[in-house]
Symmetry: C2
Amino acid sequence: MTNVRRVTYSWPMTADARPRSRRDRPAKAPLSEEVIVDAALAILRAEDLKAVTLQRVAIALDTGPASLYVYIKGGRDELRQAMYDRVLSTVTLEPPNADRWREQALALLERLLAAFEAHPGIAAISLANPASTRPALLIAENLLAMLLAGGITRQDAALATDTLLLLTSARAIETDVWRSQDDGHDDQPDIEQHLHDTYTSLPAAEFPHFTELAEELIGPDTAARFQFSIDTFLDGLAARAKRD
Amino acid sequence: MTNVRRVTYSWPMTADARPRSRRDRPAKAPLSEEVIVDAALAILRAEDLKAVTLQRVAIALDTGPASLYVYIKGGRDELRQAMYDRVLSTVTLEPPNADRWREQALALLERLLAAFEAHPGIAAISLANPASTRPALLIAENLLAMLLAGGITRQDAALATDTLLLLTSARAIETDVWRSQDDGHDDQPDIEQHLHDTYTSLPAAEFPHFTELAEELIGPDTAARFQFSIDTFLDGLAARAKRD
DNA sequence: ACCTGAACACCGTTCAAGT
DNA sequence: ACCTGAACACCGTTCAAGT
């Protein structure tokens, strides 16, 4: 059989006119939800959630946005939920130990916070719907188990699980936004210095405490603020358990 | 002086050709930041934050989006901040009373939560930047004053103010989103029933507590969850004050 | 200084058509 | 069933031009 495909061209062909065979390019990885979420998370880690658009994810996969709908039927929102679940599934869990339930709970929430902070903007998704996917429920179950092991009432433990996860998400969202505001505006010194100046130059008649406590208000960093929030809440929870 | 303007037309003029005088239409209210924010809040109350686009606000004011930039130099984000400030300025404050600081703080936060809930989506703006506008600072100052009146340490009061406001915003955002998910999907019963079913039908081996405590996890409504969060945190705060 | 129409570069989603 | 190009109806923002 002669090689009928061997032809000569009298003119250089444009890229558009030449039929592109698979051999011309590295084989394209087939699409799948996993591959799509991978691409989305890569963009997320490099930039932030705002940059993760269907068009950009599609371009990263060398296709068009319409192609994504085969695997992500729910469109953008479903993609975001899938990204969120992937991030949550990296948080390591720990069997509850009655003697160190407080440290365990705090450590779990700190790991969750760290996972959020490694993925700019992802925390905002957590408030977008009640936890009902497996990775979110596994974290909640683990936290709930720790509180129950610590002797907290059933009803208190249930409500506390809700509050603690809410607080962690909120703190992460706050951090994300502060960070995204910091970028781009290189002219401003840093955001903390700016806030300190704002507070101290407030009219003292209307803002006696803000002007006086500017240091206390701004000093502690995110980690310290987070730990205070959780610790104080757990103090209250323990006090309730003793009171009953 | 004869009335030179009195003319007759031999042909009916098209709407485009006829010079439109002010008399032809009700006088158009002049633009201003106040008028723009009014229009934006009207759309917000009737629908939600997603519906408040510059194009829609402009149409409501019988103009184009470019016209808004005269008064809202910062574009969409500045408009959102202005809306947020207007909502916060409706929250009534109260001089601190050392004997009832806990009730006062809870009541203040409940009024803030109510203001958020009356304006779907507005709470999301609160996390978008550190409080530095007057209405936000006045609420924070008032809360801080209550905590200090209650004998809380300076540093604890500062951190607690931060946490309490964060918790209130987070709870409001959560409510907003639950509510917006409820709309449109009339086929689903209600969201609580659906969650209850989800929890009870989880594999008991992996989720022993979630399956058993479904009632406790879902039962309490938003108001009850909010009160628990704040109360428990204040318990912890009071316990810290006594301990020192 | 105020206002505007038109354009620009995006966005999520749908759909008819191809394989 | 999978993939695609093209279009649709939006979005925020900019800009030259008018008053």
